[in-house]
């Protein structure tokens, strides 16, 4: 199996294909007239519908070229503001800037946004003052073997006017797993089709027969016959691509998630053979000999099944994992860790990006309006997009305000009716509650201050929240946008901003609808359980918006639920 970007104008092949097209079209015109007369009207209507379908899927398909126009592939526009999905291996040789040909014949500039070298997906943004035609999302989980499909793209860089080539076929298989080939790359839960996919089709769309996008074509099995289609192509499922989309918009170089355990297939069962020490799976209690029966919404029968579904999620994603332990059924929420270390990923990606071509483009005259949209930074495909997304979210978040009053005082009763009070300043965090009184020094490293006991660092989480929400000069240097991730007991999706502090990690989860701050997650180090602080029932008081219900989660359990009330009536703080 090989990647199928087109690295050079394959002139000979191009002429062969053209010649063939000419021959067929001549032949058909003489054959078709007599045939059309005999065809039932229903059939002709269907044919018309099919033509309509091709017309429908054409505009969102783009041809992608590196700036010298030497190589390229395909892509598909997924939003009217010009974001387009393609393969990592299509953009890897292009550097930060590329040219895109649209079906209407126009050629526009595009800039790299983010990439996922492991899943072979990349996001670019077309730069032009216009509305772009976007593809309609489909649901690749609904796709079944035998479904008719259409492929659109730019095989062999055939079309001088960028009008996509359309090929048809069926799905030959779904939920395919393709082992890593050449380092990072791994196709999990992908679609297999016999529709013709050739070099240059890479990154282009796979549609169902309702014209909905179900996959991003990227690989094909070639053997013996050279790099031409033999009826075996693979597409990344659109559900995976959508799950990664917000992460791609974060401008980062993305990794994939893993459960941190090894599974073996034993008699149709996926049996845990090894659990990584320090992984969330180990902390949640998954152990040797457990049978994994379900991950997310997918039933599991083999080790391949586990990898197949887990591989379609980014790191830090929390997945419900159902296990069977000698008849005992358990459902555990496991947070995925990254497959690769940051340095390993960076090195492997750098190798594929090919520093040379990037340098070459850097020397080339790039128009200022384009070059202002790119910012290099380690660990990022294009830091510019992280910055703008992060800043947009920070502005939109109603719980953030720079006021002269940075202190927070909250008091009320906990779930047992016992009084509590919280006092946060820039220097100090303090809590009094039923279990006693704790305080931490905000000027010292938060990592070593994990009180109150059994919370994983509630006070540290509170200090981080206070700084995020009300500090006049918050140190946002390390604050980045991660993408959408599930959080909390219901695993709802939120926009995640992440910062490191004193070697610990803090994540802020914002509602997708009103951008309000819903949760703060503090984790002192990767190998210990985090403190998840859910913030609900926000009420505006003057210039500030404060939560009135704080729920503290730690190690898979609720530590306590604090209801902010009329503090003075609620009783005196306990000593």
């Amino acid at each position: 199996m090989k990647l199928i970007a087109n690295r050079a104008w394959e002139l000979a092949l191009r002429h062969m294909v053209l010649a063939f097209l000419v021959v067929t079209s001549i032949a058909c015109s003489s054959g078709n007239e007599s045939l059309a007369a005999e065809l039932p009207t229903a059939l002709l209507a269907q044919e018309q519908q099919r033509i309509e379908l091709c017309r429908q899927i054409t505009p969102a398909t783009i041809a992608i070229f590196d700036r010298p126009g030497k190589g390229g592939g395909s892509g598909v526009i997924v939003s009217n503001d010009g974001f387009a999905l393609t393969n990592f291996h299509v953009v890897a040789p292009c550097g930060p800037y590329m040219k895109c040909g649209l079906a209407d014949g126009s050629l526009v500039d595009a800039v790299l946004v983010g990439y996922d070298a492991v899943g072979d997906v990349a996001l670019i943004k077309l730069i032009a003052d216009r509305n772009f035609p976007a593809a309609t999302w489909g649901n690749s989980d609904d796709a079944q073997t035998g479904d008719p499909v259409l492929v659109a793209g730019n095989p062999f860089m055939l079309a001088d006017d960028f009008k996509p080539t359309i090929t048809a076929g069926i799905l030959s298989g779904v939920r395919r797993y393709q082992h890593p080939a050449g380092g990072l790359l791994e196709y999990t839960d992908c679609l297999q089709t016999d529709a013709s996919i050739n070099p240059g089709n890479s990154g282009g769309p796979l549609y169902d027969f309702q014209g909905r996008l179900i996959g991003i074509n990227g690989r094909a099995s070639f053997e013996k016959r050279g790099r031409v289609n033999v009826g075996v192509g693979y597409a990344i499922s659109v559900n995976q691509a959508r799950r990664f989309l917000s992460h791609l918009k974060s401008g980062r170089s993305l990794d994939h998630g893993t459960l941190g355990l090894t599974v073996r297939t034993i008699r149709q069962r996926a049996v845990v053979a090894e659990v990584d020490e320090g992984s969330d799976a180990a902390r949640r209690g998954i152990r040797y000999g457990d049978t994994i029966t379900r991950v997310g919404n997918r039933a599991i029968n083999s080790a391949n099944d586990v990898q197949n579904i887990v591989g379609t999620f980014p790191p830090h994603w929390t997945l419900p994992v159902e296990i069977d332990r000698e008849g005992l059924n358990l459902v555990l929420a496991i947070r995925l860790e990254a497959v690769h270390s940051e340095t390993a990923l960076g090195k492997a990606v750098a190798k594929q990006i090919g520093g040379k071509s990037v340098l070459k483009h850097a020397e080339e005259e790039i128009p200022a309006e384009l070059s202002s949209l790119y910012q290099a930074r380690d660990g990022f495909a294009n830091y510019y997009f992280n910055e703008i997304t992060r800043d947009d979210l920070l502005v939109a978040c109603p719980q953030r305000s720079a006021t002269s009053d940075e202190t927070i005082e909250l008091a009320g009763r906990d779930r047992d009716g016992k009084p509590f009070s919280i006092n946060l300043t820039r220097d100090r965090g303090q809590i009094r509650c039923a279990t006693g009184q704790d305080w931490i020094d905000a000027k010292q490293s938060l990592v070593s201050q994990s009180s109150p006991a059994g919370t994983g660092g509630l006070l540290a989480a509170l200090i981080c929240w206070q700084e995020f929400a009300f500090a006049n000069d918050p140190n946002l240097d390390s604050l980045i946008y991660l993408g959408q991730l599930p959080y909390g007991p219901n695993l709802q999706l939120g926009d995640c901003l992440r910062a490191s502090r004193d070697g610990g990690t803090v994540e802020f989860y914002l509602s997708l609808t009103d951008h309000s701050l819903r949760a703060v997650r503090w984790q002192a180090d990767e190998e210990t359980d985090a403190c998840l602080l859910m913030l609900d029932d926000h009420r505006t008081e003057g210039l500030r918006s404060l939560p009135h219900r704080l729920t503290v989660h730690h190690a898979g359990e609720v530590w306590n639920e604090l209801q902010v009330g009329e503090t003075h009536e609620a009783g005196r703080p306990v000593e």
Binding site: M1, T24, A27, C28, S30, G31, N32, L35, L39, P40, A42, L43, Q46, E47, Q49, R50, L53, Q144, T145, G146, D147, P148, A168, G169, I170, S172, G173, R175, R176, Y177, Q178, Q192, D194, F209, Q210, S221, E223, K224, R225, N229, V230, G231, V232, T265, Q268, N301, S302, N304
Partner: protein, 361 residues
């Protein structure tokens, strides 16, 4: 020329027909879950020798009776005589190679374990008829994409014709003169051989053939052995007797080819590349070859004084020798083999007529 035009017209019309009946929904049979699952239960993944580039150790097979016989395309993967078979549900069994029919390039396996099996009924009324231009589906484990209980791949194709492969050079190595189903897409991929070609209702049309390339034009042939022909092949393997059907001329020459080497009880190494050096792969003990002093790893340099540079040439020379001799009332009764053994040249004399019983195992 008229035929050519018609062919194209049919191909253009066929997809439209699919649409008309299904209104853009799932293509018929293999897409219909029930039929697909039934099909899957009758098709197995086969793992044997190989694993080198261009020499895959995996292929596909179809279960053809309740006794646990599996028909597949003959290949090097079966060379060890024993393979592993993986069923649709991921269960596996060993299987022994019962025999091969080099006339149709097929082989028959027998499963060691007999789980609840569903099988194709090759003689039954449920077999499809080949209507050309019609849609067909190929179900196989091409490229070994599916492991364990993972479902096989399904590809859509069209029946392009049922034609005898002319007994001339490009295809002569296998299928000399055999009638095969020609398929209008790349269906013969690594691992696909031995897969099932079915019609829209899931009825068996044929067995996917090997990857076959013309040495003359470089073109690849995508074909299948028709069901009826496959049944004959199975009968032939099971009975060990020659097939009486078909044109006598073709039949006779093919029969000779199958038995030529077994007659003396030795085998050449498999013909992997166009000029495979003619090494002796094995010599059965107590056979004519054994008695003549032939040994495994001998390299055949000459047959009756004719230089033999490849396994194909040895086979041809042996055929020619036996043809000539059987056609004449010559007093020649032996064949002279010149072989290289390590660093020495050895001459051996094989009797022309060896006991035919040694062909059977």
């Amino acid at each position: 020329m008229k035929g050519f035009l018609l062919g194209i017209a049919i191909l253009l019309a066929a997809p439209a027909l699919v649409l008309a009946t299904e209104a853009g929904q799932r293509a018929e049979l293999p897409a219909s879950l029930a039929i697909r699952e039934r099909l899957e239960q009758r098709i197995v993944k086969i793992y044997g020798q190989g694993g080198f580039r261009s020499l895959e150790g995996y292929q596909t097979g179809i279960i053809v009776d309740a006794k646990g016989h599996v028909a597949t395309t003959n290949s090097l993967a079966l060379n060890a005589g024993e393979v592993t078979v993986v069923f649709h549900n991921g269960l596996r069994s060993s299987a022994n190679v019962v025999g091969a029919d080099s006339l149709r390039d097929t082989a028959l396996l027998k499963l060691e374990q007999l789980p609840e099996l569903m099988h194709f009924d090759l003689n039954g009324s449920q077999n499809g008829t080949s209507t050309f231009g019609e849609t067909a589906f190929v179900v196989s484990n091409l490229f070994n994409i599916a492991a364990g209980n993972e479902p096989l791949s399904i590809q859509e194709t069209y029946l392009a014709g049922e034609v005898p492969l002319a007994p001339r050079e490009p295809w002569a190595q296998v299928l000399d003169g055999q009638t095969v189903l020609l398929l209008d897409s790349v269906t013969s991929n690594p691992g696909a051989q031995g897969g099932a070609v079915v019609d829209r209702q899931g009825r068996l049309l044929g067995l996917v053939g090997r990857e076959l390339r013309s040495r003359l034009t470089g073109a690849w042939q995508n074909y299948a052995i028709p069901t009826a022909s496959l049944q004959k092949s199975i009968d032939r393997i099971l009975s060990g007797t020659a097939d009486q059907q078909g044109s006598p001329g073709t039949q006779a020459s093919a029969d000779r080819r199958i038995n030529t080497l077994q007659r003396w009880g030795f085998a050449l190494v498999p013909s992997i590349v166009p000029r495979t050096p003619p090494y002796i792969d094995l010599v059965r003990s107590e056979s004519a070859a054994d008695k003549a002093g032939l040994q495994a790893d001998d390299l055949v340099l000459m047959v009756n004084g004719y230089v033999t540079a490849s396994t194909t040439q040895v086979r041809r020379q042996l055929l020619r020798t036996t043809d000539i001799v059987s056609g004449e009332t010559s007093n020649e009764s032996t064949i002279l083999l010149t072989v290289q053994r390590d660093t020495s040249i050895v001459e051996l004399t094989l009797p022309i007529k060896a006991a035919p019983k040694e062909e059977e195992k």
